[in-house]
Amino acid sequence: MEKKANVLVIGAGPAGLCAGIETGKSGAKVIVIDENTRPGGQLFKQIHRFFGSEQHHAGVRGFEIGEMLLHKCKEAGVEMMLSSVVWGLSPEFRAGVVREGKRSMTITADKVILATGASENSLMFPGWTLPGVMGAGAAQTMMNIHRVLPGKRALMIGSGNVGLIVSYQLLQAGCEVKAVVEILPRVGGYKVHANKIARLGVDILISHTVLEVRGRERVEEAIVGRGDRNLRPIPGTERTISVDLVCLAVGLTPLSELAWLAGCKFGYFPLLGGFVPLHNRGMETTVSGMYIAGDASGIEEASTAMEEGRLAGVGALESLAFISAAEADSRRKEIEQNLLMLRKGPYGDFRHKEKEKIYSEWKKVKEKAGGYH
């Protein structure tokens, strides 16, 4: 079976939905495709209020933003294809798709926007495979989507925003969070998130790491210890914490296999999660007509993902002549302003700098051109 679209958006998370809305409302035939049974990506398990300003839906809870975006998608006439895995993408913008694990089809598009998100990193230590050790995001899915308590007493590894927020949500769901351990000598995430759980009695152990998780066929206790300046454990500082859940919140890695398949050039940007497809300010990758947005273009957060999705959409619209260059410029300017705002402060400056590096690497590659695609 064959299907055609002006714009194919892969991934129905915040970036993908916003890209779909942006392109759909200007008249393009848009297909947003996602492997999950429900759209929204990780938005529907985000039950906390978002930061930002009014246009970023600040103070609104993540799952409510999800509902809002879905509604707008409908209004914009976006076609949503769920339970559909894109297993391959050719540089000619043909996507191999399997629907519901059975029906195979090809979607050909004029432009492609990749918004494939990220996956959680793992951490290995003795006992990390015991039932009860899981990704923080996995625990979040279980409690906030499926309404099942992942454990009664939890240990959180990692104090980035994910670790802190999921700790708070574990408390909300009725789980006791015994401690958050952080190998660095400072808390990784926002101080306000840390304060939220600290005043509820959750210990945030900086310069600590998990040494081992023990138990008979399931997590029963975790051993944590202090780490020295070189992040090596200091003998004699071990203590045992009785838990039945150990959550790993040790960062995310962009999911960009499709960009790789399509021949996009990559760069290594550890502060943004690792290998990232190079792109320009308008989110276009080194393959002309292929755009990338959200965590797949470097780990940031949902608000920036939404803006990047729009930005990619504007680029696609302009090159398809659905909007004039002037209109595109004015939309881009507005979005870039928003992004600039979101990439400020102690948690934003470095992301701004890394993104600038990506843009300049993209330029270098484009100038050299050549290569096989």
């Binding site: 694990g101 499926h146 309404r147 399931r218």
Partner: protein, 108 residues
Amino acid sequence: MRIEKHPVLPDRPAGKKVDIFVDGRKVEAYEGEPIAAALWAAGIKKFRYTRKEKQPRGYFCGLGRCTDCVMTVDGVANVRTCITPVKGGMVVQTQKGLGIWKKRQMSW
């Protein structure tokens, strides 16, 4: 354990309650929820034993990527329980190693 009341989330949409059979034991589940969630709610955390070291494994990534949570479902081995929805009457078995081959009858 299920979260019946949540301070922030609206009440769980009333789903259809069905029975599934886990290693011969009757377990109550909601139709359409992932098998893994139903098992965890019933306190079942061991989903399989590894082939070489016979170590227990459970729910890990929750996205269908890591394949730690695979079990034998209705005779078919290596089913990812974290993304496979519950259907009434399902027979779920703790998987040992790679399981035993049976022609697939289900589709997912």
